[in-house]
């Protein structure tokens, strides 16, 4: 579908990284879930991998500016968002799908995405078109008029993705977006990811190593709140040896990196 590209969309950026974290520390309750993380992400699709409790969701929340970092520096789209900065401008360029997202059960999909577009302070005239485009992109066109409470788990997830991409965000954060999607939808979703990653910074948190290898341009592996590895999927594949756990080369690479990191930490 066609849309007009405005001048400030094509303007060159003045920041080297869309997401830049230095020594970032974020609390989840009392526990320091992200502890001294250094991360720099540019345009492309970045897959965020890590075991349970590695701090993926907490990192996502901090990047979405939903929680305030406890320490370190965090810059999004060239603006510092760690202190008492005004977040409005940065937030207009963000899209965020939380791991568990609540919704208003009586809203239709279209109303829900419209409401989120309104909250993201999009120009009023642009909202109906952007909403339709977002719903089309996630393949919910036929369900646009259905109430949220009647949707299946996979459809809800896709409605969540639609609200995240409705404002054409420069930084898109998707926390476990593939949960509940059937194999065919996952293929469509990978296609959508590649499409989104062309001109924006997409960070996808997932447990599925295969998804990352196929759809992402970059792999970020964290454990216990620290960065373990950042590299290309091809490089991840070469890290694994025959003795490592996993059914595919990528999974073996993942477990080899984690095992090495744990061995170094335990020393």
């Amino acid at each position: 579908m066609m849309r007009t590209v405005s001048a400030d969309e094509t303007a060159p950026t003045t920041h080297p990284w869309a997401v830049h974290a230095e020594e970032l520390r974020v609390r989840a309750g009392r526990h320091l879930a992200v502890d001294g993380l250094d991360l720099a992400l540019g345009t492309g699709v970045h897959g965020l991998l890590g075991p349970n409790g590695a701090g993926k969701t907490t990192l996502m929340r901090a990047l979405a500016t939903v929680v305030k970092p406890a320490g370190g520096r965090l810059t999004l789209l060239g603006e510092a968002v760690d202190g008492r900065a005004d977040l409005r401008r940065v937030r207009r360029g963000l899209g965020y799908l939380p791991q568990q997202f609540g919704f208003y059960p009586r809203f239709t999909v279209r109303e829900f995405v419209e409401y989120m577009a309104w909250l993201k302070e999009m120009p009023k005239a642009a909202v109906p078109g952007a909403v339709q485009r977002a719903i089309d992109r996630v393949g919910l066109t036929a369900k646009a008029g259905a109430r949220m409470k009647t949707l299946s788990g996979g459809m809800l997830r896709r409605a969540g993705i639609a609200q995240a991409i409705v404002n054409d965000p420069a930084v898109l954060l998707l926390d476990e977006p593939t949960v509940g999607l059937d194999p065919e939808q996952r293929l469509d979703f990978r296609e959508l990811l590649r499409d989104l990653g062309v001109d924006s910074c997409v960070l996808v948190s997932t447990h599925l190593v295969e998804d990352v290898v196929v759809a992402c341009t970059d792999v970020v592996l964290i454990n216990e709140g620290r960065l373990v590895y950042q590299g290309t999927p091809d490089d991840l594949v070469t890290r694994g040896g025959q003795g490592d756990a996993g059914d595919s080369a990528a999974e073996r690479g993942y477990s080899a990196l984690l095992r090495r990191h744990r061995a170094e930490a335990g020393r």
Binding site: G29, R61, A64, T65, V66, V67, K68, R84, D86, L87, R88, R89, R91, R92, L94, Y96, P98, Q100, F101, G102, F103, Y104, P105, R106, F107, R110, E111, E114, Y115, M116, W118, L119, K120, E121, P128, Q132, A144, Q163
Partner: protein, 266 residues
């Protein structure tokens, strides 16, 4: 509007075989975007097979429009976001209005007691405000907390929705009970402002709970026991309440950025 390009240039532009330099092509294209007459000229100078192709495309598009889904009709969707809030607040506001009605009734039945309406007026909006801004009661809280619209403006909008019901109810109750309107509404507004100002630090829900409890223990209980209206609610204290409201509201505005994030307090 620029001057129209030469008709021969337009003919050459329309002819795929003709050799026209790029600069002229750009100039013609820019002009064509704004000039219907010249577009008609281009359409006139195209070859027959091109026209047949265009007709086929137009027929295809028309067909797609008629057989495709009907366009979504425009709704006044500004009403939509409020619908959730309205449904959610109805029970709490009904309770508030009910309690105020009971207060009026009790006051009429037991003239010896101090005015219950003016005792309850400060805490009347608190349950509604606490519910309107609570992560437990708003299912999409995390989504909303990440949007640029989140913050004090949204809290004030929701508070206004609560006050829109509570203030008329209080006005009616004070009229029935025969007490000063200023001494009912000003404490009500002062406590609302105090909830928001305190809420910037400890969360709106906790602030509402704390203030409500403090008022009940420090003022309502002694007043009921001694059967005497406390000093703070007697005639002449309204300038103090007005000043307090303004101070607290100004303070809350200064602390506006405390409402931007997802806070564990709410």
């Amino acid at each position: 509007m620029t001057t129209h390009p030469n008709p021969t240039v337009i003919t050459r532009y329309a002819d795929p075989a003709a050799d026209l330099d790029e600069v002229t092509v750009w100039a013609v294209e820019v002009h064509l975007e704004g000039c219907a007459d010249c577009r008609a000229l281009v359409a006139g100078s195209t070859a027959d097979d091109t026209r047949a192709l265009l007709a086929r495309v137009a027929a295809g598009i028309d067909d797609g429009i008629t057989t495709g889904p009907a366009p979504e009709r425009r709704r006044s969707w500004s009403a939509t976001p409020q619908r959730w809030l309205v449904w959610h607040l109805v029970p709490w506001l009904t309770m508030t209005v009910g309690v105020l009605a009971c207060a009026v009734l009790l006051q009429a039945l037991t003239p010896g007691l101090p005015s219950l309406v003016s005792l309850l007026a400060p805490v009347a909006p608190l349950p509604g405000v606490a519910i309107a801004w609570s992560r437990r009661h708003d299912p999409a809280w995390e989504l909303i907390a990440g949007t640029p619209a989140a913050g004090l403006t949204m809290l004030l909008r929701r508070t206004a929705a609560v006050l829109a019901v509570v203030v008329p109810a209080l006005a009616l109750a004070s009229d029935r009970a025969g007490i000063s309107l200023a001494l009912t509404l000003l404490p009500c507004l002062a406590f609302t402002a105090a909830t928001i100002a305190l809420g910037a630090f400890v969360g709106v829900r906790r602030a509402a709970l704390g203030l409500g409890t403090a008022w009940a223990l420090a003022v309502i209980m002694p007043a009921v026991v001694t059967a005497e209206l406390p000093v703070v609610l007697r005639a002449g204290s309204s300038p103090g309440w007005a000043l307090l409201t303004l101070t607290l509201a100004g303070f809350a505005l200064l602390r506006a950025d405390n409402f931007r994030r997802l806070s564990s307090h709410n």
